[in-house]
């Protein structure tokens, strides 16, 4: 069994490394990430958005009297500014994300629920970021991961449909290996660019602790870790230098398999330190890095997910889709 070649759906003439990307994978590991994304990002944040009052909406930066205008961000860039600043449109997108996310969670209306949930959650983030910065770009990795999972549900909709109809969802290897390398490259580049730009702007001075001290002093002087950093520049320099090295080396650090858990956990520690000291929590990045570094599907608790049985009629739309 150990020597058996894994099934791949890449052409036989393709290079070996390309063929590996299309090896078939069981769904449990990927579905754990999907459940996190749908429950804790799409559904939870849509509900929070729907609970936002008109007064809270109007208190965002974009509506302050001195602001000169709004330049929509990312996917909202092509929309009229009147839509981007409209309370009703924000609520409409949140309702769309909530409903489609719930349908995807229960494997209904596939693959359209996956496509619409990804699109509406991504758009919802761009709309929010267009009105108030507020570190909403922390949702970029979840949106990237959802694009990959929604693409899997689209490319393999017939396999998934058949598996659901025959109640063999957990036994059908419909995921492909490429989801993980593509997400690793995305996360690696996101961090590496950040580190490389720090080096490009600051050169050898990029690890200077003075700027860390002054920014901490401005943003959160009374945070849990702030006082030691503000009082002791060598510590600030050590943390700043460590951050630049960790970020700049993230692409190779995450792509080399034996290095991946160490690098990913170091980045998680960095996010934890930022969260504790500055109150800026990049929780989605921490979850995705942990998911990429470890086989969470081998945990006993994860095996409980295999007991979930989806209704066979959930497959109907996918079966009939083009």
């Amino acid at each position: 069994m150990a020597t058996a070649e894994l099934a791949t759906s890449a052409p036989a003439t393709a290079p070996a490394i390309w063929r590996r990307l299309f090896e078939h994978r069981a769904p449990l590991r990927y579905e754990i990430l999907l459940v996190y994304l749908l429950v804790f990002k799409v559904i939870k944040e849509s509900i929070l958005q729907l609970c936002q009052s008109r007064a809270e909406f109007d208190s965002q930066d974009a509506f302050k009297p001195f602001v000169l205008g709004v330049d929509p961000i990312g996917w909202a860039d092509c929309l009229p500014v009147s839509w981007v600043t409209s309370y009703g449109f924000h609520q409409f997108v949140a309702v769309t994300a909530l409903l489609s996310g719930a349908l995807w969670l229960f494997k209904r209306c596939l693959p359209w629920s996956a496509i619409v949930a990804t699109w509406s959650f991504g758009l919802s983030n761009c709309l929010r970021q267009s009105l108030d910065f507020d570190y909403i770009h922390q949702n970029l990795p979840p949106v990237a991961a959802m694009i990959l999972l929604a693409a899997t549900y689209t490319f393999h909709r017939r396999e998934i449909s058949r598996a659901l109809r025959e109640s063999r969802f957990w036994e059908t290897d419909f995921y492909r290996e490429w989801v993980i390398p593509v997400l690793l490259v995305y996360m690696g580049l996101l961090y590496s660019y950040s580190g490389i730009w720090k080096l490009a702007y600051g050169g050898w001075d990029a690890g200077n602790g003075l700027k860390l001290q002054l920014i901490f002093d401005a943003l959160n002087p009374n945070g849990l870790l702030s006082q030691p950093i503000l009082q002791y520049r060598p510590l600030a320099t050590l943390l700043m230098t460590g951050t630049v090295i960790l970020e700049a080396g993230a692409l190779p650090g995450l792509l080399i398999p034996w290095l991946r858990p160490w690098w990913a956990m170091s980045l998680v520690m960095m996010h934890l330190a930022i969260g504790i000291s500055m109150g800026i929590w990049f929780t989605p990045s921490m979850v995705i890095l942990t998911w990429l570094a470890f086989r969470v599907d081998r945990l006993p608790l994860a095996q409980l997910m295999r007991r979930i049985r989806f209704a066979p009629r959930a497959a109907l739309l996918a079966e009939n889709s083009p």
């Binding site: 069994m1 894994l6 099934a7 759906s9 890449a10 052409p11 299309f22 078939h24 974009a62 001195f66 602001v67 000169l68 709004v70 330049d71 961000i73 970021q129 267009s130 009105l131 108030d132 910065f133 770009h137 970029l140 990237a144 990959l148 693409a151 490319f155 017939r158 396999e159 058949r162 598996a163 063999r168 036994e171 059908t172 290897d173 492909r176 390398p181 593509v182 490259v185 580049l189 996101l190 660019y193 950040s194 730009w197 702007y201 600051g202 001075d205 990029a206 003075l210 700027k211 001290q213 002054l214 920014i215 002093d217 401005a218 943003l219 503000l230 009082q231 002791y232 520049r233 951050t243």
Partner: protein, 152 residues
């Protein structure tokens, strides 16, 4: 590990193109679409901050006036502001450098004060923070200017 239940069909051209784009686009897009990837092309802690200036403007009654209206905002995230959706008024001061022409700054504040019907005289305070020794940061200087309404 088996492959029970999967159809073993060849990956479509569309799927292969999607994977190729998925590997290539993160290399190209984040530095270009800066506003969508603010931590990538213009990240926090990327620009040097040798000093930090903090301005406070008050009117005759001691009421604090809005720094954004007078262009006196000094954000530690100023290098990221180009990636923000809301467009703030242009600043007339820098976060980490003293004003090049103090008279021009005071004249600007005077003109904005007149146009917003502020109660003169206005008092501008600038606290400069920076390294006070080789270990800690603190207040280096505090300066104040009184701005009357000129020839009006």
């Amino acid at each position: 590990m088996g492959n029970a239940g999967s159809s073993c069909t060849l990956a479509t051209i569309a799927e292969q193109i999607f994977v190729a784009l998925g590997l290539l686009l993160p290399l190209v897009v984040p530095p270009i679409v800066v506003e969508a990837f603010p931590m990538t092309a213009s990240p926090m802690f990327s620009v040097a901050v040798p000093l930090r200036m903090k301005y406070t403007l008050t009117d005759k009654a001691g009421r604090k006036l809005d720094n954004d209206v007078y262009g006196l905002r000094t954000s530690p995230l100023w290098n990221m502001e180009s990636s923000f959706g809301p467009k703030f008024p242009k600043n007339v001061v820098a976060t980490s450098e003293p004003p090049a022409d103090m008279n021009a700054l005071l004249q600007h504040i005077r003109e904005v004060g007149r146009s917003t019907h502020a109660e003169f005289p206005l008092v501008l305070e600038c606290i400069t923070k920076g390294p006070i020794d080789d270990r800690t940061v603190g207040v280096i200087s505090t300066r104040k200017w009184t701005i009357d309404d000129g020839d009006r």
